[in-house]
Amino acid sequence: MSASASLVRRFTGIQRLFHLGLILLFMLLSVTGLAWMFIEAPWGAWLAELFGGYANLLLVHRVAGLVMLAGFFLQIVYLLAVFDWRHPLRALASHDALVMQWFDVVDFFRHLRWVLFGGALPRFERWGWWEKFDYWAVWWGLIIVGATGLLIYNPVLSADYVPGWFYNVALWIHRIEAVLAMGHIFTVHFFVEHFRPSTFPFSATMFDGGMPLEHARAEHPRWVERLEREGQLQARLMSRPVWAIRLLHIAFGYVMIALGLFLVVSFIAHVGLLKFTALF
């Protein structure tokens, strides 16, 4: 391995911690949620056994959901704490912020055109439009799945506030949103971050905390140029973690990717066995 300071810092320790917590809870909720959904099929029953049976499974799913909501709450607290309240407008419009801006819309269409073999690849700033989309998708996903999750958490209790038929509605919203989130993460997110030719076989940015400078120049050239212009690049360079840590990151990442792909394939293979209801 060559140069020691070859990464440009992209994520702080606390941000990586949030992402790690999100991975673990998302996976736990995916496995327990799908086991619950498919409990009448052998596949679901088998998954449930891993958690010590149906009753435990439901408990784990419910508690994990509450922990996830607590994490969401912490993320909001974190954002409020690190926000630059003295220059709020400048902070919102900053290229380091994840706020969607007009140039993201423009970049999106240029990117699309490039994929269709027209024009040049847009020169992205620190965050590409898809990275901002992924971040906010977690927000709306968590709001939808969290609000409905609380409603169906204990239907007898919720019925003190809303009629019982909200349960019918909330359960469907919860299921479809969950399938959307899993489908998106396990296919699109994994592919974009790890399986595109330029990121294959594994992009460790979110785990190492930084992105190889060469890769940053190619994919986020406007970001690197801005850092150079402002003389901040040197301060942002960091060395790669030692090989053992890198190996750990890659191994962890691949276990999660394998688990996600396993869930997608099993879902598709067993979807015909869902017995509790008919959609049409």
């Binding site: 060559s2 070859s6 409990i39 009448e40 408990l59 419910r62 508690v63 509450l66 909501l69 699309l112 490039w114 994929v115 269709l116 073999f117 609000a147 609380l150 958490y153 204990n154 239907p155 007898v156 209790l157 019925a159 003190d160 506030y161 809303v162 009629p163 019982g164 038929w165 349960y167 019918n168 509605v169 469907w172 919203i173 479809i176 949103e177 399938v179 959307l180 489908g183 998106h184 296919t187 699109v188 592919f191 974009v192 399986f195 595109r196 030719p197 330029s198 990121t199 992009s203 190889p212 060469e214 890769h215 190619a218 994919e219 017995k275 509790f276 209801t277 008919a278 959609l279 049409f280």
Partner: protein, 225 residues
């Protein structure tokens, strides 16, 4: 449900639904007289004291009809729904027959698919009453207490408004029978479908475009160190 988890949820629900960060009010709300009175189904805000406001057959508590009529509309099988014996006029009905011999499809509900609850644990012994028969345990004025509460401790009339035999959420009839379920589910299906329809091809195209770029360039302009 453990006391702890229930407590946690009271807090969470209070925050979400009442917009107050302190759960202290929620516990009172559960035991408030109004709520308990409403949960018997006999006393309905305003309506119970107005002469003639009581609908003899459709005893669904009025509060459940709120939400702009988006909720489920009671499904009434002509006449039968109000009979003491729903099967009185049914030729060749024998109590020994399986319910599904005639009511095929009724098993597609969470209870029958997922639990050991049988039809008779809710619809009770022979004769099986129409679901709106005045003295039936299934009558919405007492369904929560006589049917649901056997298994769901603390079930209120509001809880019993859950639609056990949920109609197929995306079927055209459901737009009439249970609008909220129909529109909410379609909305989610279109949202999810839209995201997949765009992102799956886009992502594949992106990967393919990069691959072509590499082949053209001989080596990548984009490379991870």
């Amino acid at each position: 449900m453990g006391r702890l988890t229930r407590g946690l949820q009271v807090a969470a629900l209070a925050v979400v639904l009442l917009g107050t960060p302190f759960p202290s009010g929620a516990a009172d709300a559960v035991t408030a007289y109004d709520e308990r009175a409403a949960s018997t189904g006999y006393f309905r805000e305003g309506a119970s004291v107005v002469p003639g406001a009581y609908q003899l057959y459709l005893q669904t508590p009025q509060s459940l009809g709120a939400y702009g009529g988006l909720g489920p509309r009671p499904k009434i099988v002509e006449g039968v729904s109000f009979k003491a014996d729903a099967h009185a006029g049914v030729t060749d009905y024998r109590p020994g027959y399986g319910c599904l011999d005639c009511h095929a499809g009724s098993e597609h509900n969470l209870h029958s698919a997922r639990t050991e609850v049988t039809c008779r644990q809710c619809h009770r012994g022979t004769p099986i009453a129409g679901i709106f028969h005045y003295y039936s345990a299934m009558n919405p004025i007492r369904r929560h207490a006589y049917v649901c509460a056997k298994c769901h401790e603390g079930a209120t009339a509001n809880f019993a408004a859950y639609v056990v035999h949920e109609p197929p959420a995306l079927a055209a009839e459901t737009a009439e029978g249970f609008p909220a379920l129909y529109y909410a589910t379609w909305f989610m299906v279109i949202l999810a479908g839209g995201v997949f329809l765009f992102f799956l091809p886009f992502t594949v195209g992106w990967g393919f475009r990069e691959l072509i770029q590499r082949i053209w360039a001989g080596r990548s302009h984009v490379r991870v160190g």
